[in-house]
Symmetry: D2
């Protein structure tokens, strides 16, 4: 049986060989983006693929804890997406299980030998972005644009999925040399930090958890072993109720929920100054009113706050509440606040992060590595990492460098696809280092 050095060689060759497939699959996925909790087609494809490879697959309510989901779309939207997936030919067996937005997947591969449980986490969802269509945007000029109007993989999750499925294949090849268990977690609704909490259960018993994200400002050729400084985040829906009235005949009777929401939006954006801390406020969506002749009786405002510290976000949260309530009162309206997303701040484990960074140095194409780097944004992977750390395990969040055509969430987002093979090789080597059967160790 091969030792680690030989296995590393084998992994390197596999990554080089699979590189075109990684790119092809990523581009295919790019054409079929699905928003959070609606990843029916994608998740069903993942289930079918992993089952074929020999994994034990769980999805639906076996994988997702219904009451821990945030920001689930309406029943109508869920059904429409489900129907689309069905019409598109997604395997009904898996679809049935996921109906209603239970789109997470947990897949286990057991080597049959005692050892650690090592998990890898990937994210399934896309963003509500209209993809750019001009020739300057590669997916447009090369013909692999999103086929779903108003949805786009504008954060690289298509790349993560491509790596994840390739890793699944590679792990099967490596399994005979390993001891312990491999778990692949495919999480829905990462955008809006809405999905991870509902998959915390998937981390029960996990000894090592490896998450990975492409880009994030890290250039091609650089790998960060473990992100730190995740921004804690909370996300709210504020529903304003005013009073409708004919805007011409009796404007004085109306109470414009739209004006209350508009004022709340401005007020919320004044709250982002905290000395020594990264703080963010974003009113991401505002929708209000029904017709120009009616004083708007209702408005809805979705906002998200972030901070690099749990006590700072707590203080910010209270000020944001006051701002929303005050704005409603200003215009004689009522408002209800509903939390629709939440993640904390959890650093990567220094030991596992260092290991990832060190292994990355041996991967072709990697020019520099670093143990740690501030993430500067939010991720609900922190829920999973926290769970693993609580159990005494180690979790890391690898930042996989990739030059970007435009920033994350932008309509022209695209990444250097050379990173895909690098990511695959790095995860493969981590797997071997963590689970190599002791009899092969020298």
């Amino acid at each position: 049986m091969p030792d680690e050095r030989e296995l590393f060689q084998q992994i390197g060759q596999a990554a080089a060989r699979m590189k075109p497939d990684l790119i092809t699959l990523r581009r295919l996925l790019h054409q079929h983006p699905e928003l959070g909790w609606l990843e029916f087609q994608t998740a069903a494809h993942v289930c079918a693929t992993l089952e074929d490879l020999g994994y034990q697959v769980r999805t639906g309510q076996e994988a997702i804890s219904g009451e821990d989901r945030f920001g689930v779309p309406s029943r109508e939207v869920l059904e429409a997406a489900w129907e689309r997936a069905r019409s598109a030919g997604a395997p009904l067996r898996w679809l049935e299980t996921m109906r209603g937005g239970y789109t997470g997947v947990v897949a286990d591969l057991d080597t049959g030998k005692p050892g650690m449980l090592v998990a890898f986490r990937f994210d399934l969802d896309a963003l509500p972005v209209h993809e750019a269509v001009d020739a300057g945007h590669l997916p447009a000029s090369q013909g692999w644009l999103s086929r779903i109007p108003g949805a786009m993989h504008a954060c690289g999750h298509d790349g993560h999925l491509s790596i994840g499925l390739a890793l699944a294949r590679l792990a099967v090849e490596l399994a005979p040399s390993l001891a312990g268990r491999i778990r692949l977690i495919f999480q829905p609704a990462e955008e809006g930090v809405r999905g991870a909490l509902a998959m915390t259960r998937a981390c029960a018993g996990v000894d090592r958890l490896v998450c990975i994200h492409i880009g994030l400002g890290v250039p091609s050729g650089q790998v960060i072993g473990g992100a730190v400084g995740f921004l804690a985040t909370r996300e709210y829906r504020a529903s304003f109720k005013g009073q409708a009235a004919h805007a011409g005949l009796e404007p004085e009777v109306g109470r414009s929920a739209l004006l209350a929401a508009a004022q709340a939006a401005l007020a919320l954006h004044t709250l982002a100054q905290y000395a020594g801390h990264e703080v963010r406020v974003n009113v991401g969506i505002l929708r209000g009113g029904v017709a120009t002749s009616i004083v708007p009786p209702e408005a809805e405002l979705l906002y998200r706050i972030r901070a690099d510290d749990n006590s700072v976000i707590e203080a910010l949260d209270q000020r944001a509440h006051a701002a929303v309530l005050g704005a409603a009162a200003t215009y004689g309206c009522h408002v209800e606040l509903e939390i629709i997303g939440r993640a904390g701040s959890e650093d990567s484990h220094p030991e596992l992060a260092a290991l990832a960074a060190d292994l990355a140095q041996s991967v072709p194409g990697v020019k520099s590595t670093s143990h740690h780097h501030p993430f500067g944004a939010s991720e609900d992977a922190t829920h999973l990492m926290q769970q693993v750390h609580r159990q005494g395990g180690q979790a890391t969040y690898i930042m996989l460098g990739a030059d970007l055509a435009a920033g994350h969430h932008n309509e022209r987002f695209d990444f250097d696809e050379n990173s895909l093979a690098i990511g695959l090789e790095l995860l493969g080597k981590l797997l071997v280092r963590l689970l190599l059967d002791s009899q092969f160790k020298r």
Copy 2:
């Protein structure tokens, strides 16, 4: 042949007899509200009915001037509504002609004898209001609620249509005693003052134009012969373009179109003070943003201004433009303004208004009448009235008193249905007075 007195008796009896049918038809129409330019099912029903009665019917591009339409919905919305009408069984022959939002109807009845051309105008469209469903709302407790979610006849146009179709029937009965021509105009998209301009052609050659509206603050038993003081109105869509960015990773790159629109909304509402004039500003709709993690790249704001004077609205319009452009600049955004509705101020003709008021005194149920009354809101019927006055004709806009359960455009709007028969009788008598064959006059 009967003289006017006998014809008036006949009309009174017909109105009394048709009263239950008027109410039944109104309630049926109430259950099938269609928004502006989407009145496929309603208009097709009108066409079929009038053709059966012997009217010469024009619809589609024969009735509607395509380039003069304001605020036409998107192709997708037009198609979906059209399909719904088709599925509901609306006669395909008429539907085909209206496809794409040409939902106006012009129907002529010729007595064969020379005389004036007298036109009556009714409006077809409903409002984007979710109808109240509790027992306190009569349509709910009696089972004739809107069956179309998010649409409601909340301004009484269902009542107007019911009167209009009954008048069509009555006119056929009266025709042998009359000389000249009768024209019935069924106009789409009155809400948002979007439809009348496209039907101005229907008023070419019209000598007398009679419009009618239920409610409007006039109590049951009262009739106003001719409204004056219509508020001139203009309606705009402001489309703000900012710059999307990941709200966590690089908020400084983003330019929030949502904030620009929010500020524009507040600023617009500060413009409504004009000494000695009725002025209105209403930001009726604001929609912006795509996700809470994205700095909103786009926002759309629909607003409507009104004034009781054409020069005041001109001045107001300029200030509103400045406010919108300034707000966009404030946040580093761009904005485009599109006019989507427009109506002027045109008083009822005093002679025709007086005639209508005088005739109303003979209608059972009418307790008081008045020649004139300020309207206090906007109506695109003013386009048609203006056209008739330009030709030397006379136009009036009758306000038909009816107690209301709640204000116009409110989710609990409902009116006293006794007004329907009053309206029918009044219009019938007006018709006779205007077109009675001279040989029967004494």
Copy 3:
């Protein structure tokens, strides 16, 4: 003894003769404007003049009810103004009595014969306006500009005072032919509707009250017998308290009272739409903050609302309160509201108004008259008029036409001084008509 016709001739001659003096005195007063409650020099001059003419003069707390004053300046400001008046040589005897802002004057002339008590009311105060100094402004080019920086008679009260003092002189001449009593009321702090309520006592027992105002949009040569449609008004000071903090070191500790006030300003200005009513909202003053490096701990906002109806202003007042409180809460601030001015809506008495208009027709220079005209603004004379009407008397508010160089309260305000003699003659004739000794009547 002369009859009315002869007296009218005498008055006409006196007015013509006094015309240059009226203008001279007006220009003198124009150079010495004093703000509300600070009219020490002006009021002392009035007292001395009237006493010399034989009037019984009351001022200070004999004329002013201390607790009914609104918007009295701070003790420092009062003292500084008092000192300035003293330095300027105003008679100390009267000054002493007025100290602390008791600047009203009530002067009685008793004919010794029984009859009605007829009162005339004039206003003493100027405005905080920096007068224009360019040659296009008559007071500048002719050398009679305000000598007090930041204060200006920009509403014509200098003209009213000139008429009032001339009328005092004329009344002494006429007295032997009259029966009853004449009362001249000189009121402080009309601007901001702050002074009249404190002089209500001066109207006890008054049978006829005549108020007069120059300009107001009425052109030269026109006289309105009695204004109606005064806008009821309320005026508030909102004092916001936030939390100071170093804006660089710990911005998160601060709570900006300035932002709260700014938002309140915007929100207040959105409240001015009332169908069928004239409504006004004006945030007239906002002052907040101490330094650019400090989060503003305090801000003060002064606003004024008006409406042509007492119930509308009540409703508006409540909405304005909510707006101010809501804006404070939005930014974590506190706010206190203090009422600093208030007047109601009280129409001129039709009988007295008609009398004034009719008499005006005989005054040279008057080309047209009207019994009534809407005032369209606010006046605290309404407090006095209301008091007289409650007693069964009659009060009117004459609008004395005068072409203006620029609108009231503008830095270029100036009026056609020909109106002064017209005003004097009209008031003199009114006096005679109301108090002519019956033995001289024919």
Copy 4:
């Protein structure tokens, strides 16, 4: 002659001996705060004291470059403050020189032996803060409150001055053992970063520059050798011009500069989010309007932006400009922007900072030291430090730990006065280390 060890002993003894005097002087200064460019009494006292000690003293236009001053008060304010200083008995000889706001002082002491030029910089000005007067505030309970209403040493400059004057005395004692020149720079108008640029000339030829500040969040017993991370800052006055009008009679004619400024304030505060950077925006002062009955024709807004990076502040500055211009346009107003303060970001020199930190370890009362610490706010000392660094010299900004009763700029600000003696001893030792005559070095 003594060696360094002996001189250090001597300095330690002097600091202990002078401790009560340091406190007494600080409290005296605390009672006579003067705002920026108005420090006539304070600066004259400094001049007289230093001249008495044998320093060569320059002030007035010899010390201050007139055209490089920011935010100089109006001539009236300058004169009033100058008069107050004169009335208070400040020596006229120095006062005359400073008239018009030339309140900086540069004082040199030449050892007569060749060597470096070592400068120390202190700041003279106080803040526009109303000092707290309750017993919980030490200056109140102990009777040394500010005697100038509305002005307060709320940032510790009184302590800096006390140290500076004691250092002047100590330097004279030490001079015989030193070689080179000592320069004491007393700078006006540090608050608002308005004064340093005008004193850049005082740094010509300076080899070492030492600045010092008390408190800043560093606790008693800790000393930071050199601050880094100064926030670059820019400070503006935005003057809005609208159009006055009578708010009741013709509100539509007015253009409220107050509303424009209010909106600008809100918009500016939305600009503070920059990933990875400390950014601040503060609208510190807003003043607008003249009376509640007048649409505000003018408003003034003072704001300050800061960033920890020169390119970030440049970008922020441009967005702020756009926000101000956009807000003015929104309300039909004009606006002019005037820069009234400016400072860049300049780190302490690591070598000199390390030296200061190391020497601090030998000072009694110092428990911990650190070479560097982020400042987190702005300081115009950076102008002077930059000048020295450009010349190849070294500059540092010592943060002298002191527990605070309340934050800087707060009305309850006070600091642990034990820090004064520590500061004196540290500066004395630095002086010796930098200028010790080489013949005494061992």
